[in-house]
């Protein structure tokens, strides 16, 4: 017989309540009761994978020889830049992740116009400092400049289009960093120029004080500061209405106007929105039908423990879903398959225990003895088999993440998570509930109550 049944019931109820709270709400907010300030908030909208809602997935690979060493830092920066470029597209919930040593996975849910995304990702950024004279160009506007990659200014004579002079390019920047203005607590961007650049810059800023110097990334204006003073020492500052984030983002653009690692698209997957919705609905229906059969079987075959197992499985599902929502795991089709499979594992743990209990009851033990023995004797097989499953999931997860194989990743994550939670529910919650049921109903006839 288990001790502390009351405590166990209280803990079970608390866990279930928290899980259901997370399951049923879209956002969790904890307010300070005195000031009404938000102490803590967590967005809980469930995330659906591309296969369920449609969208675009691209796998980018460093366009360098196989054996070339690529350091993690430059991949991180490349990731940041890809993220920034695609953020500008106004796509919601785009996720850009590094996969392994030389790959980046980009996911754009709900997106159908793929051309713009691919073009944006693959662009090689060119950073230019352009003299716009008295004109204060709007951020985001596109200018025509006289810069050409060959280094010789080209003579573009186009009718009605102003061609601006490129003073220098991002290649002349030696270093860029962000600092905070001690007086006004504004963020500033400091830059140091290479020697050629600092001479050009000194000449230009001396001659054009009070004029605008636009900074262009791929001909698009990202900022247009006014030249306040001549910058002769090869060091300067850009001030503006920067937040910490925007200052850093800008610094990254200055530092790495072009990607530190050239990227090429090695894999593209587009899932139309109808296919996704179709799969989601059908899989949900299939899951419900399957679960209904399982519930019926468990109750008919195992009687009272069967009911307990079904309750325990429902709690298991509630906890798993809550964890999914809390940590923003993306739900994909293989993920659902992994979840169904781990539900099978959870049921298996219950079945192992109940079969063991029945055996002990048949050999004439009392109910309490049978319960204790059922758990202790089934435990070694539950533990070992589940550990083997977890080992495999971990290997799978590693395989999936290093290849951007999101299918495998989603599957192994739900499987591992499900197996872990099922260990807990089978051992703790099923047992608590069964003890509670036995205490409440005091069954005498084992044949009727346990299907012995």
């Amino acid at each position: 017989m288990i001790r502390n049944l009351t405590n166990r019931i209280i803990i079970t109820v608390i866990i279930l309540a928290v899980a259901l709270w997370v399951d049923l709400s879209n956002e969790v907010k904890i307010l300070n009761p005195v000031t009404d300030e938000i102490l803590f908030s967590q967005d809980l909208t469930p995330r659906l994978g591309l296969d369920l809602r449609g969208g675009l997935q691209v796998l980018l690979e460093a366009d360098l020889p196989e054996n070339a060493q690529i350091d993690t830092a430059s991949m991180e920066i490349a990731r940041d830049i890809v993220q920034q470029r695609t953020d500008a597209l106004g796509v919601n919930e785009n996720v850009i992740q590094i996969a392994g040593e030389r790959r980046i996975v980009g996911e754009f849910p709900g997106l159908e116009d793929t051309e713009s995304v691919l073009a944006t990702i693959q662009q090689t950024g060119l950073l230019e400092f352009v003299d716009t004279g008295d004109l204060n160009p709007q951020e985001g506007s596109v200018l025509v400049t006289d810069y050409s990659p060959a280094g010789v200014p080209t003579d573009i004579v186009a009718d009605g289009i102003t061609v601006f002079h490129t003073v220098m390019t991002g290649a002349e920047l030696a270093s860029v960093n962000v600092s905070q203005d001690t007086l006004a607590s504004r963020y500033l961007i400091n830059f140091v120029l290479k020697s050629d650049g600092s001479k050009v810059f000194a000449d230009h800023t001396t001659a054009n004080r009070g004029k605008f110097l636009a900074i262009l990334l791929d001909k698009q204006v990202i900022s247009a500061p006014i030249i306040n003073d001549a910058i002769t020492g090869g060091q300067g500052q850009i001030s503006g209405n920067f937040t910490y984030e925007s200052a850093n983002a800008f610094a990254i653009q200055l530092r790495y106007g072009s990607l530190p690692v050239p990227l090429k698209v090695v894999e593209t997957r587009i899932i139309g929105p109808t296919l996704g919705a179709d799969s989601l609905n059908k899989s949900l229906v299939a899951g419900l039908i399957g679960m209904a059969i399982v519930v019926l079987f468990m109750i008919i075959y195992y009687r009272m423990p069967g009911i307990v197992a079904v309750l325990s499985i429902m709690i298991y599902a509630a906890i798993t879903f809550a964890i999914f929502k809390w940590f923003h795991f993306t739900l994909t089709l293989p993920g659902i398959a992994g979840f169904l499979l781990s539900t099978g594992t959870a049921l298996d743990s219950n079945i192992l225990i109940f079969e063991r209990m029945k055996e002990e009851l048949r050999s004439g033990r009392t109910l309490n003895q049978a319960m204790d023995l059922g758990w202790t004797r089934a435990w070694s097989s539950i533990r070992d088999s589940n550990l083997a499953a977890i080992i495999t999931s971990v290997i799978l997860f590693w395989f999936g993440s290093s290849f951007g194989a999101t299918i495998v990743k989603g599957f192994s994550l739900t499987l591992a998570l499900g197996v872990l939670i099922s260990l807990f529910t089978a051992v703790y919650i099923t047992r608590t509930l069964l003890a509670l049921f036995i205490k409440t109903f005091k069954p005498q006839n084992f044949e009727r109550w346990f299907g012995v």
Partner: protein
């Protein structure tokens, strides 16, 4: 119930199932999808009544410089076109061509494009992942059974049962490829890896009972001990297998989306095999090993 006495019948059955499927696989050639070979799959939907036939689609591809396109029609009237790697420009050209030819709006249902180098690496890494997982699980079993005589054998037998299940999966895929044009894609890989995990899990449950019994029933002959353990766990094996795993997967296979059907069937067969192999492959081999039966295999009139 004497299950082990008939062990050579079960070995025969497994061999038959595996060989027949693998022969079909060999005849058909291993149907690797673009996930492994690299290439492009484009599924498009035309407005009803304006669908283009393969004969109309192929020239459009040829104009875009792709000569190896293959067109399949689906039940829903969409067209699946498989070809070598399409660049984004080529894809746009092809879509534009199809729009002009059919005079219909062409919507992209699915577009998978995989570079050739990726596919090869995925295959290699998958093989490595399976090997690493297997070795780790063998080590785990050997460690976990360290108090039992010949713990190493349990690990090896679990792996043999796993190899059996892998062979069964390839066999069912061979049958599917021969009759229904299935392909080995990344979902297949997921199914394979799942079955491997499950196979280990299930074998461990049976072995756990042998481990427990060998402490209690020390006097019993090994074959009887193993048989007894199998019979004891049989009810659980059947219930877990048929009633939980198979019910869920059957529902998925029957009512699940198209993408999941093939996956569900492979899992269904593979997991069934996972349970089967624990009882009818792994445990019998333990006994066979204990008795060193291979010494009698090639003698005349040997009693099996």
């Amino acid at each position: 119930m004497n299950i082990l006495g008939k062990r050579y019948y079960f070995f025969g059955l497994s061999t038959l199932l595996i060989v027949s499927g693998l022969v079909l696989l060999a005849i058909k050639g291993v149907p690797l999808s673009i996930d492994f070979t690299g290439g492009t799959l484009l599924e498009v939907q035309f407005e009803a009544g304006k669908e283009l036939d393969a004969s109309a689609i192929l020239p459009i591809y040829e104009d875009a410089g792709i000569a190896d396109a293959q067109v399949t029609e689906t039940e829903t009237g969409s067209r699946i076109i498989r070809s070598s790697f399409l660049t984004n420009e080529a894809r746009d050209a092809v879509l534009k061509g199809m729009r002009e030819q059919s005079g219909s709006e062409v919507s992209v249902i699915r577009f998978d494009s995989v570079g050739p180098s990726i596919g090869k690496q995925v295959t290699q890494r998958a093989a490595v992942a399976i090997a690493v997982a297997s070795i780790l699980v063998v080590l785990f079993i050997v460690w976990s059974f360290r108090k039992v005589e010949n713990a190493f054998r349990y690990g090896v037998c679990a792996i043999l049962a796993m190899l059996h299940d892998i062979a069964i999966i390839f066999s069912i895929t061979g049958i599917g490829a021969y009759f229904f044009g299935w392909q080995i894609d990344s979902l297949f890989l997921t199914a394979l890896l799942t079955v491997i995990g499950f196979s280990m899990q299930d074998t461990i449950v049976v072995f756990d009972r042998i481990r427990e019994n060998s402490n209690i029933l020390r006097r019993l002959e090994y074959e009887k001990l193993v048989n007894h353990s199998i019979v004891q766990t049989l009810q659980r094996s059947i219930n877990t297998q048929l009633m939980t795993v198979e019910f869920l997967l059957l529902a998925l296979a029957l009512f699940g989306g198209v993408t999941l059907q093939e996956f569900a069937i492979i899992l269904l067969v593979g997991l069934l095999s996972g349970t089967y192999s624990s009882i009818f492959v792994a445990a019998p081999i333990l006994v066979l090993w204990e008795k060193r039966e291979w010494r009698t295999w090639f003698r005349r009139n040997a009693e099996a």
